[in-house]
Each structure stands twice: as C-alpha cells, then as structure tokens.
C-alpha cells in the first residue's frame, strides 16, 4: 500500500464511510500496526482511538490490597530523578503525566482534558506548537488544586541543569507558557513530528509547584517531598523504605469516577526474578511481578498450577549483534576502534554477508528465549508501524561458505579461512548472563562450520555497562570485533533509538565514549535519512524513512537483530491490568481491578 492509497482510506474514515477499526484492520493487513494506524488517523484529523474501557467496578475502593512485587525495589520517588524503571514505576503510583501511552501506542488522557489534535486546535499546522487543555477540578493529595502553574513549574524545574533532572532532555529545548488557569502551550524551535514527549508518559509525571518551588536547581536534593510524594494519582503516599517497600492508600478524591478499585497498594522490592515469578504464579502471595528475565521454560513450569499467568508486552527493546566497522586491534592516538581505522577483515562486505548468514535467530528463540524473545533481524521493530518487512531471517552455513570461498577466503590447515595473510578470527564480547552465553555458543558453532574462528569473551555486567573511561571492557568502547547486548527504546518514537546510526554520534575518546553510535559506522546516506526524519511532520513518510534507515543498517550488516525483548510480567488469575510497552508498568494503575 502506498502513501496515496493510505490517504484515500483516511479520507473514507473522515467521511464516515469506513470505521476506525476497519481502517486499522486494513493497515494491519499490509503490515502497518495499530499504533501507526492510530497515529496516522490522528495527524490526519481523526480523533485518537479511545478503546472502550474494560473497567468494571462501579464504586471506588473495596478491592482490598494490591500487592506488587518488583525484584528491584524503587530507591527514590521523584519522577524527575527516576532513571531506572523501578523508580519510575514507583513514582507512578502517586504521580501522573498529562497523557499516557496505551499498549497500542495511542495517547490516553490522564491530567489532560483531551489529547491535542489538529481538529481541536491542540496541534498547530506548522508543527511548532502544542496546546494542552488541563482537566479541571483535579486536586493534589494535600487538597491544593492542580493548575497550569504546576505544569509550567515542572518545565522550569526539569530544564534547569542545576536540578540535574534525568528528564532534562524532554524539557530543555522547548518553551512552555501558561495561557490561562487550565491551558498550557508547548512551543518547539523547529517543526517537531514527535511532539508528545514533554508532560507525557514516563518522563511526563508532574510534581506540585507548591511543594517543590523552594527546591529548584542546586537545592533539589533537599526537598522533603522527594521521599514523601504528593501527587494527583489514584493512590496516596503512606510509607517508603528505599529498595524495600513503597506503600500507598486509596485516594478518596481521585479525579476519575469509581477509581481506584484497591484500598491500598504496596510495591515490595528485592530478591530475584525466579522467586518473584514463584510468589505470583505458584503461591499467589503477590498479585503482580515485574520484568521477569527468566527462561521461558521455567515460567511455563510455574504457570502450570493455574494460579496466574505470564503476560508478554511488546515494546521496542532489542537484543542485537554489532559488527565493528573500525579496527579494535590497532591503537591510534591512544584509542582502539578509532574512526581513523578500518576493520582488517570485517571491512570486506562479503565477510559481513557471510556473518549475517551464520546467525541462527530461530534456534536462539526456540532454545533460549521462547515467548520472551521472538526472533527478528530488524533493529527497529516496534511500534509495529516501524517494523520493516524487508529483512527476512536467513540462516545458511553452506551459503556463507560459498560467499567466503568466492571472495577468496581460503581455508587453511587449521580450518580457518584466510586471505592475504589475514585470518577470519573474531573476538565476540557480551555481558555475563546465561541466555547471552548460550547465544554466543550457538553463533560460534555456526561460524566454525564456515571457517570463522570466534573467541568468546564475557564481561561482568557492572563493568560492561559502565561508563568507566579507564576500563577497556565497556560496551561503548567496543574493543572487540563483535559484541551483543540489549538496547532499550523508551518511547513509541524511534528518534533517539536510531541515533545509533548517525556518524556524528560515534563513540570516541573525544566524547569519552558517550556517543550513541557504537559501531562507528560512517554513512552519509544514513545521516541524510536521519536528518529527513527530524523534520518530516507527516507520520507516514517519517515511518518510511525510519524503515529505510533500519534496512540500510541491516543490509550493510552494521548490526543484526537477534531477538526482541518484550516486557514479561506475571499476574494472578483474577487481576485485570493493561500493561503498555511504551509507558511505565504502573501507568494505568487507576484502572487495575480484580474479578470478583
């Protein structure tokens, strides 16, 4: 389906000839997922889908306690300081943003009265202004009203570098202004296709001005409310022991009728993922357990008792293989993998092609990850609107052998291929983690059959993922030929995710290896496509550009997707909860309930 056809369909929806659902189904039939379809409709002037609520309780409270188990407990409860999921999820019990992302990647209003669209005047045609109308009659937990001043304050608070807020990136480049008591505008410096960042989702939780106004900037760490949140959310703060337990009680004045259902909520932390799964699936001591990085085989066994089930929520996180484009074995100006070098053997495109044929995604899914890691070759696969159909998984040792043979790489006496005295010997590093070591073994075995010798290296996670400039084994230094890890995509927009292919983002000594482009790939074409996405306001064209960028990286074997890493959680049989892969686990907590 091309752009024109899509526009035709959108026209039909507008004219009422085609239902929204019909449109979404038509889009899905050609591989464009529900979220993109929703967003296409919105930006084309059809209101964003609000799926019928499945919330059944007819009165507030009465549901008893809700017991959540996070195997890493929250350590702080200020959403602007919350860097890890655990802290953001914990903050979200009490704080809310203007809008949240639902599982399909649609926006759902929380503190906003409605989602801004072109039709209701919320989005300007030039892509420079978003106008948010706030819900009226909302109060903070201490009874003070929630107004536009609070929203503007959050911008001032987060954008101040002295505050050192982790959310700064969402706020520093925008201008926020109060129009009236219940209206706020967000202005961008240039047309911005992804406007739903500030005040939305994980990084959009709002803190009250009257309690934080004195603690902006350098004094931010002294605010008593950092540890005793006062928000607008469905539950009010009761007690907090960092790393162990957060408790809350029902907010009797919550701004949505008949919600929340539970009388209290507790989030317990600590322990490990397997026993967390056990406490939900096997003993039912807890109602919900988060982020179960456990082999599927174990989860299936625990599920057998029938006390609960595992839910797999798709997102954008990807476990992938990186092929170095620079030479990790030669030091230039005090750094290896320098941009001034070329990889001695991997710079041969035929070798790269052969490597791609030696990655057996299917076996890796089947034998290691199961439901918790569907195989994919793409780097960008979600939301589904960005999932390219052009990169089928191909595992073929014979073909790899053939390609290498034709390219002049001959097997030596030791069975390892060589050309011009250079042997196909690679070092392949990743962090210590059982599924990763198993994956390494599968890839090494296949490579061996094609005459490529792979030496496996595993680095303890606290070193591998650290930014320690002095340590040569960090993933950003990439001082090996191949490496593998999971990169996370926190928002349903691939803008930041795809920075990993932009030349200027290369991780080098000059930027203390903080650049996002770890493979150091230098491609003018990729840069050009990325720049296009930054200015393109039309979501259909923009999605197409992102797909093109993904295909370019995959087809040049810069990176290779191995498996998707969806969010895996466990819930008891009676619990109804909607988990979104694009927002916090607890983003929809007000709507959780249990069947009677």
């Amino acid at each position: 389906m091309n752009e024109r056809e899509i526009r035709g369909l959108v026209g039909k929806v507008k004219a009422g000839k085609l239902s929204r659902r019909g449109f979404v189904q038509a889009m899905m039939a050609v591989g464009i997922g529900a979220p993109v379809a929703g967003q296409i409709l919105v930006s084309s002037g059809v209101a964003m889908a609000q799926p019928a609520s499945t919330y059944k309780p007819t009165k507030r409270g009465g549901g008893g306690p809700l017991k959540l188990l996070w195997w890493q407990g929250p350590t702080l409860l200020n959403p602007h300081f919350a860097v890890g999921t655990k802290d953001q999820d914990g903050s979200r019990l009490f704080y809310e943003p203007l809008a949240a992302w639902d599982p399909d990647g649609n926006l759902k209003p929380k503190l906003a009265a409605e989602i801004p669209t072109k039709e209701n005047g919320g989005l300007s045609a030039d892509g420079l202004t978003v106008t948010w109308k706030l819900k009226q009659g909302v109060t903070w937990h201490d009874g003070k009203p929630f107004t536009a001043d609070d929203v503007v304050f959050n911008w001032e608070y987060a954008k101040d570098p002295a505050t050192a807020a982790y959310t700064i990136a969402s706020y520093q480049d925008v201008m926020v202004a109060k129009v009236d008591q219940y209206t706020v505008t967000v202005k961008f410096k240039k047309p911005t296709p992804f406007w739903a960042d500030a005040f939305v989702g994980t990084r959009g939780m709002l803190i009250p001005k009257h309690l934080f106004a004195d603690y902006i900037g350098a004094k931010s760490r002294d605010a008593p409310t950092n540890l005793k949140p006062v928000g607008t959310g469905p539950y009010m703060f009761k007690d907090f022991k960092p790393g162990d337990l957060v408790t809350g009680v029902m907010n009797p004045n919550y701004h949505q009728a008949n919600k929340p259902y539970f009388d209290s909520v507790e989030m317990k932390g600590g322990g490990d993922a397997v026993s967390a799964a056990r406490a939900v699936l096997q003993t039912g001591e807890f109602d919900f357990a988060w982020n179960l990085q456990v082999e599927d085989e174990i989860l299936s066994r625990l599920e057998k008792g029938g006390k609960g089930s595992v839910s797999v929520t798709p997102g954008g996180n990807i476990e992938f293989l990186l092929l170095n484009t620079t030479d990790p074995w030669t030091e230039v100006d005090g750094e290896r993998s320098s941009l001034k070098t070329k990889h001695p053997t991997l710079s041969d495109p035929e070798v790269r092609k052969a490597m791609a044929l030696l990655v057996d995604n299917k076996s890796i899914q089947d034998h290691i990850y199961g439901r918790t890691g569907p195989a994919t070759r793409n780097f960008l696969y979600g939301p589904p609107r960005f999932d390219s159909k052009n990169n089928p998984i191909e595992f073929n040792v014979d073909k790899a052998n053939d390609i290498l043979e034709k390219a002049g790489w001959k097997k030596g006496a030791d069975g390892i291929r060589a050309k011009d005295g250079k042997k196909l010997k690679f070092v392949y590093q990743t962090s210590i983690n059982q599924p990763r070591q198993k994956t390494q073994a599968i890839i090494k075995q296949a490579a061996q059959k094609a005459g490529i010798d792979i030496e496996l290296k595993s680095v303890t996670a606290s070193v591998f993922f650290s930014s320690d400039v002095a340590n040569p084994d960090t993933y950003t230094k990439f001082y090996t030929d191949l490496e593998m890890y999971t990169t996370t995509m926190g928002q349903p927009d691939p803008g930041t995710h795809m920075l990993q292919f932009v030349s200027t983002e290369a991780a080098t000594k000059a930027n203390k290896w903080q650049g996002r482009n770890i493979t150091r790939w230098q491609s003018p074409e990729a840069d050009k496509i990325y720049r296009e996405t930054e200015a393109e306001l039309d979501p259909v064209k923009r999605a197409a550009s992102f797909i093109k960028l993904n295909d370019l990286a995959i087809q040049n074997q810069i990176v290779m997707g191995i498996v998707q890493r969806p969010t895996v959680s466990a819930k008891t049989a009676k619990l109804n909860c909607n988990i979104s892969g694009w927002d916090n686990n607890t983003s929809d907590l007000s709507d959780w309930f249990k069947d009677a």
Partner: protein, 320 residues
C-alpha cells in the same frame, strides 16, 4: 581488670579505625563503576546532567579531598548522602537495622542455644552415639550453603505445604497477637536457615574446646575431691572451655549488624545485608562505606569486649 588496660585498648582503636577507613575509602574510590552509570547508557539523559550530578556529589574531587570531607562529616555525626536514594545514609541504615537485629539476632541466639549444650554433651561422651549423630548433623549443617537450605525450605514449607510465606515484610498491618504471629511466621524460615548454619559450626567448636579442657589436671583434681560430675562440667570445664567460644561468638557479633547477604536476598528480608548488596550493585559508595565502616567498628569493639570477657572467665589471663 585495670582501667588503664581498657583505656589503652580504646586509644589503640583510633588509629586502627582510621587505617581501616582509609583502606575502605581508597578501595571503593578505585573500584570500577560509577553511581551514575545508568545515566550514561540512557539516551534520554544528556552527558551534562551526569557531569552536574558528579560535581554536586563531589565525585570529581581528588580522592584524598573526598576522604577528608567524609571524615570531617563523620566527626559531626553525618554518615553521608546516598547517591541513589538521595537521602542520608544514617536514615537508610536505621530503616534496615531493626529487621536485621531481630532476624539475625534471633538466629544467633538459636545457634548459641543449640550449640553449647549439644557441643558440651557431645564432648563429655566422645564417640558415643549422641556424639556421632551431633557430629554428622554439624557437618551437614555447615557444608550446605544457606542459599540451598533456604530454597529447600521454601519449596517444602511455602510451595508444597503452603504453611509459611517466603517474602518477608517489614510492615505487617495486623495488630495485637496477629501482628506477632505474622512476624514469627515469616521469620521462621530465615532464622532457621541462618541459625542452623551458624549453630553447626559452633557445635564443632564447643565440642573440641570442651574436649581439650576436660582432660586437664585440675578437672581430675576436682573430680577426685568428690565434686559431682554435673558440677565439675558446669563450674570447672565449661567456664574455661568457653573462652575460645566467646572469641568466636564475639567476632561474629558484627554479623548481627551487617546482616546475612545471601539469606536476606532469598527471603527478601529488608536488612542491612540486602542494603549493602544493592548499594554495591548500584555503586552507591556512601552507603557501602557507611555499612562497611560500621561493621569494621563493631569488629574492633567486640574484640575489646572479648578481651575483657577473657579476664572474667579466666582470671589467669592478666591485663597488662
């Protein structure tokens, strides 16, 4: 016991504690990892924020300067400020301390209560059936790691029988008797696991210590004076034999404070041990420094207490 002796010991403590703190601080400062690592891997957080945070928490200062700041603050009773939780280290420790004291303390008491009578009985009847059974159990007890016995107990008592919860909760909402009952119920497994582990080692220790003493001449003299066997054992043997045991128990006391890392992880006991391990994993050095330094202080203090107890148990050990 001379007062001079105690004062001299106390004075020696100061340089040793300073030395310990310097070593700890230097090790932590030089260890790989950075409390704001997570920020570096997060594309949404610009490097300036990390730089601002490092500056705010003084991480860019030279090590000696940071140590000086730490020491100076400590003199004023300030244990430092957690990078990760953004609260005082002392508050964090105080939140965890009661649970640790109760759970680990109970397990220590259990260990002592079991080990001393069993060890003494075993020693008075060496190679009897009782001795052999006690020895066998002691061997099994300290060869099985706590993570194994913990898991076995969970599988049996929580999963199979469904009698006991395996997630420890510091906040029990029940009141009255139900409150205590819930606390006891959730403490049974962690206390048993730890108590048996420590008790097993202690049994062996008490047994061999009593065996050493029981053959000494003064015991034979006491017996030949016609003193009853029970009295000989309790008055003459056990008292002397307890000296090395006291050393062992006294030196284990700091564990009561610093917690049992593995057991606390298994049962999710929110004690000092789990605080220490999570702080280490997140490179939260002020917390790690706080907990380890308190442990070090306790080791030194309990050493002193052990020295003093020696004199009370056996006046032959003179204080000079």
């Amino acid at each position: 016991m001379s007062r001079q002796y105690v004062i001299r010991k106390l004075l020696i403590m100061i340089p040793s504690l300073l030395g310990i703190s310097i070593v700890l601080f230097a090790l932590l400062a030089m260890a790989p990892g950075d409390p704001f690592d997570e920020l570096a891997t997060n594309p949404a957080v610009p490097p300036e924020v990390r730089a601002a945070l490092r500056a705010k928490f003084g991480l860019d200062d030279p090590i000696w300067m940071r140590y000086w700041h730490w020491l100076f603050a400590l003199m004023q009773g300030d244990w430092g400020f957690s990078f990760v939780s953004r609260m005082d280290v002392s508050t964090l420790i105080m939140q965890r301390l009661p649970v640790t004291l109760v759970v680990i303390g109970a397990s220590q008491i259990l260990a002592i209560v079991i080990a001393i009578p069993v060890g003494v009985l075993a020693a008075t009847r060496p190679y009897s059936l009782f001795d052999q059974i006690a020895n066998t159990f002691a061997f099994i007890g300290f060869s099985l790691p706590t993570f194994f016995t913990g898991l076995v107990l969970i599988l049996v008592f929580s999963i199979q029988l469904d009698w006991l919860p395996f997630v420890y909760r510091a906040d029990i909402t029940a009141t009255g008797w139900a409150f205590y009952w819930e606390h006891i119920k959730q403490s049974i497994m962690p206390v048993t696991v730890l108590g048996l582990f420590q008790g097993a080692a202690l049994v062996r220790f008490v047994r061999s210590s009593v065996l050493d003493v029981i053959r000494l001449d003064y015991v034979t003299t006491a017996r030949s004076k016609g003193i009853g066997e029970r009295k000989v054992i309790t008055r003459h043997v056990v008292r002397t034999a307890l000296i090395p045991v006291v050393t062992l128990v006294a030196l284990q006391m700091p564990i009561v404070f610093s917690g049992a890392i593995v057991t606390e992880q298994i049962f999710r006991v929110p004690g000092i041990g789990s605080l220490l391990i999570t702080s280490m994993l997140s490179n939260d050095t002020p917390v790690v420094m706080g907990v380890t330094f308190v442990s070090a202080c306790l080791v030194v203090v309990f050493n002193l207490i052990a020295d003093i107890l020696y004199g009370w148990l056996d006046p032959r050990i003179a204080f000079r």
